[in-house]
Amino acid sequence: MNSNIEVPKPRPINRSRVSYRTASIVPTPALIDRARLIYFDQKQSSPKVPRPAPIDRSKLRYHSLGTAVPKPACIDRSKLRYRSLGVVVPKPALIDRSKLHYLCSAGVIPKPCPIDRSKVEYSEPQLTALERNIHSPITPGAVNFPCFEITPELEAKADQRIAQYPADQTRSAVLPLLHEVQHHFGFISPESIDWVANKLNLEPMKVVEVVTFYPGFRQKAPGKLHVRVCRTLSCAMGGSYELMDKLCEITKIDRSQEDGHKDTISVSPCGNFSVEYAECLASCGTAPVCLVNDDFHEGITADKAQALLDSYQNA
């Protein structure tokens, strides 16, 4: 198999006709005699704008430096070297095109072998904004909760909640249904959003907007013990920041990834604990307070943190 392809030889270029841009010497621009300049406003007879007084630069103070800036030295322009002014660019040598190797004109190209698609690894698909919002990152806490599935009990509970609202206003049941899901499955997964939307005959977007609005709904699995520490004024004065630090120390939770707004839950590597700051749990008189799962605890100062967690391990 001979795959030599015949390529027409290019015409030689008549280089004598080529003119190079920087081959000539560029003259130094003449100095402008500013005294002879006519200012724009002076041309018109009225109104006459007075020529601006020369600025005494020795009296200027430069802003934002704090200290007085030394007057910049005058630039001696005679010593400056301009690029491309003095140097004559040599004319390039002629290219001997007969010696050039053109790509793929010499070698034999092997026939591509068929792709074994079973061995191809696909990269993660790019998520759209909507998909990112319904995306549930997998945390170590996921082992504590069953995967979402539609059970008859769930359906029955949902129907009972839907019946609380007028027949034409079933959208009201979005929050109660999401609470049911979160209670049983730990968090709101994309599949559960679809289930709620189907159940209430809504577009899934209407459910997603609710999930992402309310801090009470979480989109990733918390630990087996989810501790919500109140961080608002009275509790902060009572020492809830210290309580949070202590809890993180005991449970080895790293809160550095927490962003305080969208992703507030931090899960321990073992998956047993997770912590989150809550806004005002309405028991300011007994600060600092926290919620462990659904149990309320008051007066939990940092030194009682260990005892609090222990009380759950025995149970």
């Binding site: 704090g66 959208r171 009201s172 979005v174 009470g216 806004e279 005002c280 149990d295």
Partner: protein, 465 residues
């Protein structure tokens, strides 16, 4: 009243006058309906259902009851706003989304005395003609939601809810609706949006006054837990008798929740306006912690304006005007409004001299930046800016100009939003800057102006050349 025994250590103070909190911390008390019935419960419901609804509204108007949720709007007048020729169903909503920092009164009512709330709701629903009522309870009270649902089931069993209540022909269903930890759901139109299953974006008033266009665009009355409980006592005492409690235009009792730097924080039910700050904080709460002095008080939840303890105020108009020091101010709606703050929801937060104002400001701006619903631009952006600037002040990276910028941002939010959240987030900042400007500026430094990354680059360049 004297035969009621309270748990040891939880006895009410002598200055208290307990109506709503009568059964809170009571010895031998539980949430069951039998305990409530043994104490004469649901008698007012029976009495109310024999009355004319208009007469009940009249009694509540006579009583001068003002809403206990924060705004202090007269409850009877609110009920009267339902259009007279209305043909749509009317809804009653109990706002149990108690999320104002510093307030913790509703927690004890719904946890310890749920039947008083249900009785108040039945009477109120009968008065306004509602046949469906919702209790919007915050997500952070999971236990209370269970207690209330159990109480509702008990009441239905005994015939105090459901069809033809006590043979009067009046039907009412009460449902519990749990929120999801959003502060904005305490705003009545935000609450209604949330109850409709949407994001809790408050509606603009006018035209969306709940009494005309509320839940599902039907007339809706939204009342605080405490306000609804007061209805039971108004019916028992009669409006004429109730109005004698408290002071003129500030009738009845109200629950004050004291937290922060006092020896004995807690809740106190007192006659409105009969208690001054001195009596509340020194006599009832035991004064400052050892070796400390009081610095400032936030009198009505974190969104009210802070008051300095060494301030004095001119209260009253014309000839009746008098100069009162902070400690002699009575805690009623009008006096606190004249002092430049508000009685709000009754959450009194006390700060002593160990607290830096910049730290308090930072905590509060973090709260409001987190809780802004994001509907109106001034509040959504402004609350975040305020948080960032107060972070800078707290970390010591601010310039004196930052305090001015912070103040300007606050005034740009105030009054430019759909709901009162804008004011709630701006007022504390405005007041703290106004009253503690020197302290805040002392924590800033002119030199920080040169701490920006760009400036550091520029300085490095100048030094090297």
């Amino acid at each position: 009243m004297s035969d009621i025994k309270y748990l040891p250590g939880k006895e009410p103070h002598a200055n208290e006058h307990r109506l709503i909190f009568k059964n809170v911390d009571r010895e031998g008390w539980d949430q069951s309906i039998d305990t409530y019935l043994n104490d004469g419960g649901y008698e007012m419901l029976k009495k109310g259902l024999t009355m004319d609804p208009k007469a009940i509204i009249g009694e509540v108007k006579t009583s001068g009851l003002r809403g206990r949720g924060g705004a202090g709007f007269p409850t009877g007048i609110k009920w009267g706003f339902i259009p007279p020729n209305n043909t749509k169903p009317v809804y009653l909503i109990c706002n149990a989304d108690e999320s104002e920092p510093g307030t913790f009164k509703d927690r004890y009512i719904v946890h310890q005395d749920p039947h008083m709330l249900i009785e108040g709701m039945v009477i109120s629903a009968f008065a306004v003609g509602a046949h469906t009522a919702y209790i919007y309870i915050r997500e952070e009270f999971p236990e209370a939601a269970i207690i209330l649902e159990k109480a509702i089931a008990e009441a239905r069993e005994k015939g105090f809810l459901g069809q033809n209540i006590q043979g009067s022909g009046f039907d009412l269903e009460i449902y519990v609706h749990r929120g999801a930890a959003a502060y904005i759901c305490g705003e009545e139109t935000g609450l209604i949006e949330s109850l409709e299953g949407k994001r809790a974006y408050p509606r603009i008033k006018p035209p969306y006054f709940p009494a005309a266009m509320g839940l599902y665009m039907c007339p809706t009355i939204v009342n605080n837990v405490e306000s609804l409980c007061h209805v039971v006592h108004i019916l028992r005492m009669g409006g004429e008798e109730y109005v004698k409690l408290g002071t003129p235009r500030n009738s009845g009792t109200r629950i004050l929740c004291v937290s922060g730097d006092v020896k004995h924080p807690g809740y106190f039910e007192v006659q409105v306006g009969k208690i001054t700050f001195r009596e509340l904080i020194y006599d009832m709460c035991g004064g400052p912690k050892d070796g400390r002095e009081f610095k400032a008080v936030i009198p009505g939840g974190s969104s009210s304006k802070i008051l300095r303890c060494n301030e004095s105020f001119s209260i009253g108009r014309g000839d009746e005007a008098k100069e009162l020091s902070f400690w002699d101010l009575p805690l009623d709606f009008d006096t606190l409004a004249e002092a430049g703050s508000m009685a709000g929801s009754g959450g009194v937060i006390v700060l002593d001299d160990s607290r830096k104002i910049s730290w308090v400001l930072n905590n509060i701006t973090h709260f409001y930046a987190h809780e802004s619903c994001g509907q109106c631009t001034p509040c959504r952006e402004g609350s975040t800016w305020m948080r960032k600037i107060s972070d800078r002040i707290l970390e010591g990276n601010a310039t004196p100009d930052d305090v001015k910028t912070l103040e300007e941002v606050a005034y740009q939010i105030d009054g430019k939003t759909i709901c009162a959240f804008g004011e709630a987030s701006a007022w504390p900042v405005e007041a703290m800057i106004d009253k503690y400007r020197d302290e805040l500026i002392a924590e800033t430094s002119e030199e920080n102006e040169f701490k920006s990354p760009e400036q550091q680059e520029r300085e490095k360049f100048l030094i090297s050349s």
